[in-house]
């Protein structure tokens, strides 16, 4: 089981301007591949310097990526995929929030941009693979197939955001950082050793197209400004007001601004978001317990499983693992039952199923079933 193929490949390295993708490109060169660097211009206005931005869309990042490519000694290009990114990632992100769901734009970007728009163009231009700085491992099976596995270092593992890749996409993916049993500091040290100036660059934000990290503000701006609505408890009693239901996430505790404590004195969490009547429902932490869920748009990394099976599931980036049984129903719906109830499951997020370290597939959470509780104070 090895990641690097013996044959030198023509590799297109996606370079964000950050340290991970720069080291990944350098390692691909070192492995003997013929590597060309490309920076994806994803912002609609690539001319703008946005102070404080540490995303992947600024001229500064483009220059950092170019400088890294120069040091590594590979050709470098900037490809403008802003239009595709806007359509497939940003608009999807906004629409999902508008519908009361919590999307993960990084997954969408990997599925639709890096390993679709970019990969398709790369293949058409004669490249064999796209290389990124993700922490995940591609394993060659004995029959020549590909498997996606968690990174050697679980703490840095990013297989969750790659769980949307199918076998064909995976066949052309290269993750040179995946088998790194090193800390981020050591990656930075490696970058330093390779003379890459990005060694000391801060990590990027989670959402690259929201430069200041203010998701609420971004959504308010996109969805027509604050629309005041009610925050209600499980019984439907109004306990506060909010400035737009779309900004909330299931399981969120901070920023509710209710002002007075619950009767039982315990903290309250977002249980439900209803964009239709602009209502946010809050309640105690126990009410977040989910026993099963239904997920749609499954994508399989290889053959879809037949019949129910036992897996571990990850429900959000950097989230823990839960034991589940899962079954594909009618080929399009994934039914997942948790052995122990889990908290903070948000529709719109992806559930990624693992068999050990192997990614089996992923699907988008559509419905959750909460654990039945004895009414509080009853």
């Amino acid at each position: 089981m090895t990641q690097t193929s013996q044959r030198p490949l023509r590799v297109l390295a996606a370079m964000s301007g950050g340290v991970d993708s720069a080291v990944a490109a350098a390692r691909a060169v070192e492995a003997g591949h013929d590597v060309t660097g490309v920076h994806l211009a994803l912002s609609a206005n690539p001319q703008s310097f946005r102070t404080g931005a540490r995303g992947c869309c600024t001229i500064e990042d483009s220059r950092d990526a170019r400088r890294a490519a120069d040091v590594i000694g590979i050709p470098f290009y900037v490809w403008d995929l802003a239009e595709r990114f806007r359509e497939d990632v940003v608009e999807d992100f906004v629409a999902e929030y508008e519908a009361g769901r919590t999307p993960n734009p990084c997954l969408r970007c990997n599925e639709k941009i890096k390993f679709a728009a970019l990969l398709d163009k790369a293949l058409a231009l004669g490249f064999d693979a796209v290389c990124t700085g993700h922490y995940a491992t591609v394993v060659l099976t004995e029959d020549g197939g590909r498997e996606l596995h968690r990174a050697s270092d679980m703490a840095k593992d990013q297989s969750y955001v790659l769980g949307v890749l199918d076998e064909k996409q995976l066949a052309h993916a290269m993750f040179p950082l995946g088998d790194t049993l090193t800390t981020k500091d050591e990656i930075r040290a490696e970058a330093e050793r390779r003379g890459l100036a990005v060694a000391k660059k801060p990590d990027s934000h989670d959402i690259c197209f929201i430069a200041d990290g203010d998701t609420q503000g971004f959504l308010a701006n996109r969805l027509g400004g604050p629309a005041e609505g009610d925050i209600v408890d499980e019984a439907g009693t109004k306990v506060g007001t909010h400035e737009g239901a779309f900004g909330f996430t299931i399981g969120q505790r901070k920023g509710l601004k209710i002002g007075h404590p619950a009767p039982d004195g315990k903290p309250r969490y977002v249980l439900d978001i209803s964009p239709v009547n602009n209502t946010v429902t809050v309640g105690p932490v126990e009410a977040l317990d989910v026993t099963s869920l239904t997920a749609i748009k499954p994508r399989w990394c290889g053959t879809p499983p037949s019949g129910p099976g036992t897996y571990t599931a990850q429900l959000r980036a950097h989230g823990g693992e839960s034991e589940v049984t899962a079954e594909l129903v009618d080929g399009s719906e994934l039914h997942v039952t948790f052995t122990e109830p889990v908290r903070g499951v948000a529709p719109g997020q992806a559930v990624v199923l693992y068999d050990g370290t192997r990614v089996v597939g992923s699907a988008t959470i559509a419905k959750t079933v909460r654990r039945e509780r004895v009414a509080a104070g009853g």
């Binding site: 060309t36 920076h39 211009a41 690539p46 001319q47 001229i59 483009s62 170019r66 050709p75 290009y77 900037v78 490809w79 403008d80 995929l81 595709r84 728009a117 398709d120 163009k121 058409a124 231009l125 004669g126």
Partner: protein
């Protein structure tokens, strides 16, 4: 390697390198009064005479700058300011839509910050400006025109402008006209006195001289307001310590560019014709940009649009085979934008995305053309598969 991007920059001539290195080890500020200063001044002034001679100008008409961009900015902004200062009605700037960004953006800056009204003169499908259109534009109000700026030859599609005829119209009305002659110098007969221009830009590194040196040829009647203030060098129009090594080298390159121009144009023009034939044979639907009449375009320029291709993709594929060319004007951000030159000449925006400029120079050979002839067909085929993203 086939270097087909001489319009971006061309290799330095050995004579120019020699002249420059000889000066680099010599001490002296051309403004100093002592012997070292006098020696440097002598180098600068002899170079000024050489360059003036190569360009049909008087030595006092040569204002050295740090390159073509600076010379363009000095001409456009400086002449605008001085003309407006003399008569506040003069706020109209007449220019063409296919200018280099050094002119285009300087003019736009005047509109944004200095109350200028910019008028883009009409052009034909090759980007050419016509004297009668200039006359018509002036006649709308001859009193409010601050200055006129139209390039001598276009850097992307190679179109030659009727500069002398345009300058004659400007002179009739006593309006100063500037021309960016960066691409023309060394390829066309560029005679400042005969041109009738008030100001003209030339650059060192496009003719085999060094980077970072250029000149504004400036008629003695014209005193643009300086962009750079300081020690008062160069007729108080352009302050800054004179770069004697670069100036000496620029002068040598300028002299050779003028001396060798006819032979260069003949040899490189023939190579360019071969290149055009070869590209058309390999890609029959390739669209030649600019004037198909060799008399109407720079001899070293070839420009094509390849339907269904992204220029960037073609560049990548050719680069991977050691062929260097350009998608148009180099862009600092590295992001492909449809060329303003092509859009101004009415090229379909989709077609404008698939353009390549091949520019030849003094080191170009038949082998370069042959390498391109072999590579371009498969590259276009591949880029078409990748399509327009």
């Amino acid at each position: 390697m086939a270097y087909l991007d001489h319009a971006a920059t061309t290799p330095m001539l050995p004579e120019a390198i020699e002249a420059m290195t000889a000066q680099l080890s010599v001490t002296g500020n051309a403004s100093s009064l002592h012997a070292a200063g006098r020696r440097a001044r002598r180098t600068v002034e002899e170079s000024r005479e050489t360059l003036a001679d190569s360009l049909g100008a008087r030595p006092s008409e040569v204002v050295f700058t740090a390159g073509g961009t600076e010379a363009d900015n000095l001409a456009v902004k400086g002449l605008y300011w001085s003309r407006r200062d003399a008569d506040p009605r003069r706020t109209r700037v007449l220019t063409g839509p296919v200018e280099h960004h050094a002119v285009l953006d300087a003019v736009d800056w005047l509109a944004d910050h200095e109350g200028a009204t910019v008028e883009h003169l009409p052009v034909d499908r090759y980007g050419r400006v016509y004297p009668e259109d200039l006359r018509e534009a002036i006649l709308r109000n001859p009193d409010d025109v601050a200055m006129i700026t139209v390039m001598w030859a276009n850097n992307e599609i190679g179109t030659i402008m009727p500069v002398r005829e345009l300058a004659a119209v400007a002179a009739e009305f006593g309006i100063p006209m500037h021309a960016d002659a960066v691409q023309a110098f060394g390829q066309l007969e560029v005679d400042f006195a005969r041109s009738g221009l008030a100001a003209m830009t030339v650059s060192g590194h496009k003719i085999g001289g060094p980077f970072g040196i250029g000149a504004l040829l400036l008629g003695r009647d014209h005193t643009p307001v300086p962009v750079l203030h300081g020690g008062g060098q160069e007729r108080h129009v352009r302050s800054g310590t004179l770069d004697a090594p670069a100036i000496a080298s620029f002068a040598v390159a300028g002299r050779l560019a003028a001396e060798r121009r006819e032979e260069f144009a003949r040899r490189v023009g023939a190579l360019r014709d071969d290149l055009v034939t070869a590209v058309r044979r390999a890609v029959p639907d390739a669209v030649l940009g600019g004037d198909p009449d060799p008399a109407g375009r720079l001899p070293a320029n070839a420009h094509f649009s390849f339907p269904g291709c992204e220029g960037d993709s073609l560049l990548l594929l050719l680069d991977a085979q050691g062929i260097a060319c350009s998608t148009g004007s180099a862009c600092t951000a590295g992001i492909a934008q449809p060329s303003h030159v092509l859009l101004a000449t009415g090229t379909d925006p989709d077609l404008a995305r698939g353009t390549l400029r091949f520019s030849l120079g003094h080191t170009s050979t038949e082998e370069d053309v042959k390498a391109l002839a072999e590579a371009i067909g498969p590259a276009v085929e591949r880029a078409r598969t990748a399509g327009l993203s």
